[in-house]
Symmetry: C2
Subunit: 272 residues, 2 copies
């Protein structure tokens, strides 16, 4: 998907909501467990109920690999369903991959070509030649981990490198990589105050913001420091939407929870 | 597998060879492509021909994910075959995963429990709480990326942090994590001279050394700087063994290539 299509979708829906499809069989309504593919049935119901409110869906691949072969089948069916019924919605394989060049190329092939995700999250530790194979895929986007939302972010990401910090070095260095116009970045919302600094280094890039909701973080703070002319934000919510109800009304409850966020986003977009 | 079992296997076989099961369908003998599961058939033949020479096998997960559902089936069959027929051999899921805590726990579950690998490679960028869920699994090992063998290693890993460098900070910091006795480290053999420094920080830990062979790097240099009383090394070779021949004799050729390495290792162990 081209960036312009994502931006136009954001304006059309007045939303920059990304819904994390992180399905945990221990948390979904009991009646779905009797179906042939509970994970896919759950996702399909969530997508059907929220696709007018969200501009992106983000399955975290761990939640599918945890169920082995069955999980992969659910993942393939989920991305297949999105590509068939909602090609206008941006899809993110939250995989956090990264390996030596030819190996990264195989991951890029699996997620961006075979499964046809619009984007994939990638870890930066192994540097340029581990990321460029993802960037090489035309019409796709690579979402590089910048500053994550977990406690461990302070172990290495915020370590001083000269006058800078590691995560800033990652942002800065990655701008020089081939096809860097296809880069987006993961930035944790628990550190909204960092966003002003980040915008100095990558003023235009789209940021994927996890950690609004269950992981903490305020939407208005994120917008204050991170929003650009093109909005430039995808704010993710997973558990707060997926598990708004554990009953048979789970999809309606998810839509309600998503609506609350979308309406807040609409207001914040109008302020801009 | 307990560390003592690995060490005793190393002494018994006079080998610290790890064989990377990175199967590329474009490179395996043509006659296997007609079988029901070419990847598994190839792996099985390689394992049958080399299990007396190798102390570890390491499938790189990208090579399996690249083939989607079929690839996962091949991976499950391969690790199943190893666990059934060669439980004495150390198995490594080369996955380079790493995510926020509960998500890392799902990866740990998939690879270390469900598939029952002895270990998994993990990326350090997200810090302590992204790695500890792997370390929490009893009887298993977490192999943390330290200094990788690719060019991109110089983008961030060798960046100066005060008087130290990022990869050294990773080694040092990780020693303080819970169950750090279950840690091993990936260290690229293309930089054998770094090993002396690395051994000052982690004198006893096992190192997984990729990059002998196709990626360059000398075995004797690695041993000179990296070998400990308990050997403390797993040296990986993939392509040089797997694709020693493209004909029907591929398994014999693989055994020959592995024997050359094993004999060199035997000599280097005797020197110690």
């Amino acid at each position: 998907m081209k960036l312009e299509s994502l931006i136009s979708e954001i304006h059309k829906k007045k939303s920059f909501l990304c819904i994390g499809l992180d399905v945990d069989l221990n948390k979904i309504p009991a009646h779905l467990l009797d179906t042939d593919d509970p994970i896919f049935q759950f996702n399909k119901a969530i997508i059907n109920a929220t696709h007018h409110l969200a501009v992106a869906y983000k399955p975290n691949i761990a939640f599918y690999e945890a169920y082995g072969l069955k999980g992969w089948k659910s993942l393939e069916k989920t991305i297949g369903y999105l590509n068939e019924h909602h090609p206008e919605i941006f899809t993110i394989a939250d995989a956090k991959r990264g390996d030596i060049g030819n190996t990264s190329a195989m991951y890029a092939n699996a997620f961006l070509k075979e499964m046809n995700f619009d984007s994939i999250t990638v870890a930066p530790y192994m540097g340029k030649d581990s990321v460029e194979p993802f960037l090489a895929v035309e019409g796709k986007h690579t979402i590089l981990l910048g500053l994550t939302s977990n406690e461990g972010a302070f172990d290495f990401q915020t370590k001083k490198i000269g006058d800078s910090e590691l995560y800033k070095e990652v942002l800065l260095t990655s701008r020089g990589w081939k096809h860097s116009d296809r880069l987006m970045y993961v930035v944790g919302a628990t550190k909204a105050e960092y966003l002003a600094d980040i915008r100095k280094i990558i003023p235009e890039s789209f940021l994927l913001i996890p950690g609004v909701g269950a992981q903490g973080g305020s939407l208005s703070e994120v917008c204050k420091y991170g929003m650009t002319e093109n909005i430039g934000l995808l704010v993710n919510s997973s558990r707060g939407i997926l598990y708004a109800s554990k009953g048979k009304d789970f999809a309606d409850a998810a839509a309600e929870a998503a609506t609350v966020l979308q309406l807040e986003m609409k207001k914040l977009m109008q302020k801009k």
